[in-house]
Structures are given as C-alpha cells and as structure tokens.
C-alpha cells in the first residue's frame, strides 16, 4: 500500500520559514549597521567584522568536523554571532581581538552545550564578556572619533565651554559616569551632563564614539523594523527592556534628585538599542512564554540601569543580558501558561 500520509510529531503546520532563512534575515537586517560602522569608523571596522565572522564560521566547522558531527555552519547562526561580536568591540582593537573573541564564543559558548538551540547564553555576548575581562584596557579605549562627530557626541564647539580636555576621550556613557561621580565637587560636571543631554541628534545618527556596531540608533532601527515586520523578533522583550531603562533612568539618573534624569539620553546611548533588539531577543536564549519575555526585558532593564548608575562599568547591556539569559529556564518554568480548561485544585 502506498503511504499517502507523512507521519510526524506536532505541530503540523508547515511554513517556508527555516533556521537558515531566519538567520540570513537577521544578517540582512544588520547590513545597514555594518555599512554605517564602516562609514563612521573607517574600513578597519569592516575588516574587524570580516575577521570575526570568518573565525566564527571556521571554528564551528572545524569543531563539528573533529567531533564527527554534521557540519551546520550553513545555517548562518555563526555568521550572526560573528557580526554581533564585532559590533561589540571598539574600532581600534588589535586584529586578534575579534578572532579570539569569536573562537571563544563558538568553542566555549555554543558547541560544548550541543550547538545551536542548546546554548544557555548568547555566544556573542559571552565572547564580549570574555574579551572585556581578559583585555580590559584594549576593550575600553576608544580613540577613533566617528566621521563628522566627536567621541562623546558633544559638539566640538561647546566642549571648550567648560574647558575639560578629557571629555573628548570618552564615549557618552563614560562621560556620564565620570562626571556623575564628581557631581558634588565639580561645578562643571552638571554642565557636562547637560551638554550630553543636548546631543540627541548625534546619538541618534551614530556620530559618537563607541563599539563599532552600537552607535547608530537610526541604522539599527531600520534593521529592527525589518525583523519585527518579518516577525523574527517580538516586541515584548525590546519594549519592556527599553521601557524599564527609560523609567529607571528618569527616576534615578538625574543630577538634581529624584525624577530628573534624562531617559532619552539613556535609550540612545551605549548598546541598548543593539542589545534590546538583536541580542536580548535571541530565540535560543530568551523565554518562550509571553509573560516570561516581559519579565526578562524588565530584568535586563533593571540590571542595565543599575550597572550604568551605580556599578563599576559605564555600560551594562551585555552583562545584564547574560545574567538574564541564565534566569530563562526559571522564568519559563514559573510563567508556564495554565492548561486550557484546567480547574485549580483545592
């Protein structure tokens, strides 16, 4: 008898979407930001991205070859990891930084757990955390000013207003952190912070210093809109994440007391947009339940603001997402939806 039916496990809906299609969709959505990084930080930024991607793909292929597992680099997930890792490093790092970071991300963060779908933490962020802990000086020195901009995002003309030489040496969040620390003693600190708040335009277009892929909010949002339109990412995580950061930075980030902070500055600066749309939403390392995703985003937001305002680092997006990645199994367990029709036991 001819077998007319395909026997398979549920769900039985078929669709053209597949892992490679989603992954290459993510790569496509990152292209504006890649072009932007090369425009703002020079061709060198492009080479760093290429190195990170090639290393990530090669590491995955080699490990799978030696482990005699099917080689799945064609699915594009290693490419995404490579790009996101390169987006998280400054433009002037030595060439081996993206190579070592990518290799670590794949060889420690992904393959030992079973490859794509089993990694508990976002491999790109793990790579970044490894690089930041191992070579802190190389990973935090920003010297390449973006094209037509300054490192801190403050217009060059107004920097001289308060005569701080060092302010040209740092990214917006660095300036925010250092000036906030001396708020009590320095009369100019408040001026500096208000100058930062006036630089929305530069922050939005990406004319500030920072890691090569995180600066241009505009270009990242183009890609994010594409991903949302294709429904590769949901809105719950990014919106709850950004909303929490906005609320808490407005409440506690001010210079004049409670509720005088500038939420827009905190949303536009640092890696929040990149993290919220591209890394917190990673399908593998974020909760599957709707409520869980909102808690996840809120948790990321609380940790990010805590690190930015009181922690040791100027930026906390990567660490907060990694920490929340680890809480995903717990979130999934406690937000499991009620079975339809189930009556509460007495």
């Amino acid at each position: 008898m001819e077998n007319k039916f395909l026997v398979s496990a549920s769900p039985h809906i078929t669709d053209k979407e597949s892992i490679p299609k989603i992954m290459y969709g993510v790569v496509l959505s990152l292209i504006p930001a890649i072009v932007g990084s090369v425009y703002f930080f020079g061709v060198r930024a492009g080479w760093l991205i290429v190195l990170a991607v090639v290393t990530a793909v090669a590491t995955e292929a080699l490990l799978q070859f030696f482990m005699k597992k099917p080689i799945t680099v064609g699915d594009g997930s290693a490419i995404v990891t490579g790009i996101l890792l390169a987006f998280n490093i400054p433009a002037e790092v030595p060439w081996w930084i993206p190579v070592v970071g990518s290799a670590f991300a794949i060889a420690i963060g992904k393959i030992p757990f079973g490859g794509l779908g089993y990694n508990p933490m976002n491999p790109a962020l793990l790579g970044r955390a490894f690089l930041l802990a191992s070579w802190p000086t190389k990973m935090t020195i920003f010297t390449t000013a973006p094209r037509d901009g300054t490192l801190s995002g403050i217009n060059a003309a107004s920097i001289t207003d308060f005569g701080l030489e060092t302010i040209t040496q740092a990214t917006p969040l660095n300036v925010f952190k250092t000036q906030r620390a001396v708020l009590e003693t320095s009369a100019k600190a408040e001026v500096a912070i208000s100058q930062l708040y006036d630089s929305y335009g530069n922050l939005f277009w990406g004319k500030v210093g920072g890691c090569i892929g995180e600066t241009s909010v505009f270009l990242l949002l183009i890609g994010a809109i594409y991903l949302i339109y294709k429904r590769y990412i949901g809105l719950r995580i990014p919106l709850s994440y950004i909303g929490t950061v906005a609320l808490l930075s407005w409440l506690f980030g001010g210079t004049k007391g409670l509720a005088t902070g500038d939420p827009i500055f905190h949303i536009l600066s640092g890696g929040l947009i990149l993290g919220a749309f591209y890394m917190a939403t990673d399908m593998v390392t974020s909760p599957v339940t709707s409520r869980g995703r909102i808690y996840f985003g809120v948790g990321c937001g609380v940790l990010t603001v805590a690190i930015r305002l009181v922690g040791g680092y100027p930026e906390g997006v990567s660490y907060s997402i990694l920490l929340m990645n680890l809480s995903v199994p717990l979130l999934d367990r406690y937000t499991r939806p009620k079975t339809f029709g189930k009556v509460k036991e007495k």
Binding site: P94, P112, A133, S134, W135, P136, K138
Partner: protein
C-alpha cells in the same frame, strides 16, 4: 588487587579532582599559579598520608558512631602541623595560600579517603592509597595551574615564558578562568574514558 593499583588509581582511574569531583574548592581557588598548586598539593598529600596511616592504625578501636569527629581531629592535627611549618619556612607560600591551608581540614579528598579506604584497609594499603591520591590531587591542581598561569600571566613557576608580544588572557587568572579550565579538563577525562570504553 595488587598494591601498585592502589597507587596508580589516584592518577587517572579515580583521580580525586577530575574523576571523583572531590576537593574542588582548593582546585578552583589556588590553581592560579603552579607554585601555589604544588604547595597546596604537597600540603594536602602530607596530611592525607599521615591521616590515612593513623586512621588505618586505629580503625579497629574506633566506635562507628563517632568515627567522623575522630577522623576530623586526626586530620586537624596534621593540618596544624603543616600550617605552622609552612608559616615558619615558606611564609610567602603560606601568605598566598591564605585561608586554604587551614581549610585542608575539611578537604573532602582527605576525609573521603579516611572514610572510604583507610577505615577499612591495612596500614600498608592505606599508605599507598594516600600517596597515590595525594599525588593525583597535586597532578590535577598542577594541570589546571599550568594552563591558567601560562595563558593568564604568560609565566610558569613565576618565570616569564611567553614572548613579550604575548597579551595575557586575564580572565584565566580570575575565578571564571578556574571554572572554565577545570570544566575543560573534566570534559577531556570523560572523553578519554568514553574513547576507552567504546574502543
């Protein structure tokens, strides 16, 4: 079982750290340099050897219900000896090992051997068991330490080994590096095991 097996099992088959997952606390904490690792391993080996012999000697007279406190007192005696000797003759090492010298008292390798082996076997066997386990423990600590010190600070036994162009991987000296290196070693041992049993 021939007595040589009791000696060699501590290296690979029953390696306290990589196979039995005992004594992980000192392995993680003091494996940031080879000097610390060997110092710690030697101290633990001495205590293990002495406590195994004494426990084995008195094993017939120890009431079963209070054997653990008795073992602890024996172990603590030898740890105190090691602690004072080290403070007197190797103050630098004593300083860098810090709290982990007195903590040998509760090292589960030592208590584990007293409970699982010395309390049930003759003095000669217990001596060999203690020696093998102690050396196996030292070997495990040193293996982790070599990786961490070499890559984490570019040195070995305090001497610079890597060229001047080498950028030390700071993470390996920090606590996460201990977990990473230990995890990879345990993985390696399990992999070797699997290969042996399937081959």
């Amino acid at each position: 079982m021939p007595i040589s097996n009791e000696f060699f099992k501590g290296f690979y088959k029953e390696n306290p750290v990589f196979k039995l997952a005992l004594g992980l606390c000192p392995t993680l904490a003091v494996s940031n340099s080879l000097q610390n690792a060997v110092g710690m391993g030697a101290a633990a080996t001495f205590v293990l050897l002495c406590s195994n012999v004494i426990v084995s000697l008195i094993r017939k007279g120890v009431p079963k219900k209070i054997r653990i406190p008795i073992y602890i007192v024996i172990i603590a005696t030898f740890v105190t000896i090691v602690d004072l000797v080290m403070a007197g003759f190797a103050p630098d090492l004593h300083k860098s090992l810090g709290i982990f010298v007195p903590l040998i008292v509760v090292n589960c390798v030592i208590l584990g051997r007293a409970e699982a082996f010395a309390g049930k076997n003759s003095v000669a066997y217990s001596f060999i068991d203690g020696l093998g386990m102690g050396i196996g423990f030292t070997f495990a600590l040193s293996a982790v330490a070599v990786v961490r010190e070499l890559l984490g600070s570019g040195k070995l036994w305090g001497f610079p080994i890597m060229g001047s162009g080498f950028e030390p991987v700071l993470l390996l000296i920090l606590p996460p590096g201990a977990f990473l290196t230990l995890g990879l070693f345990v993985g390696l041992f399990n992999w070797l095991d699997n290969k042996r049993t399937t081959a």
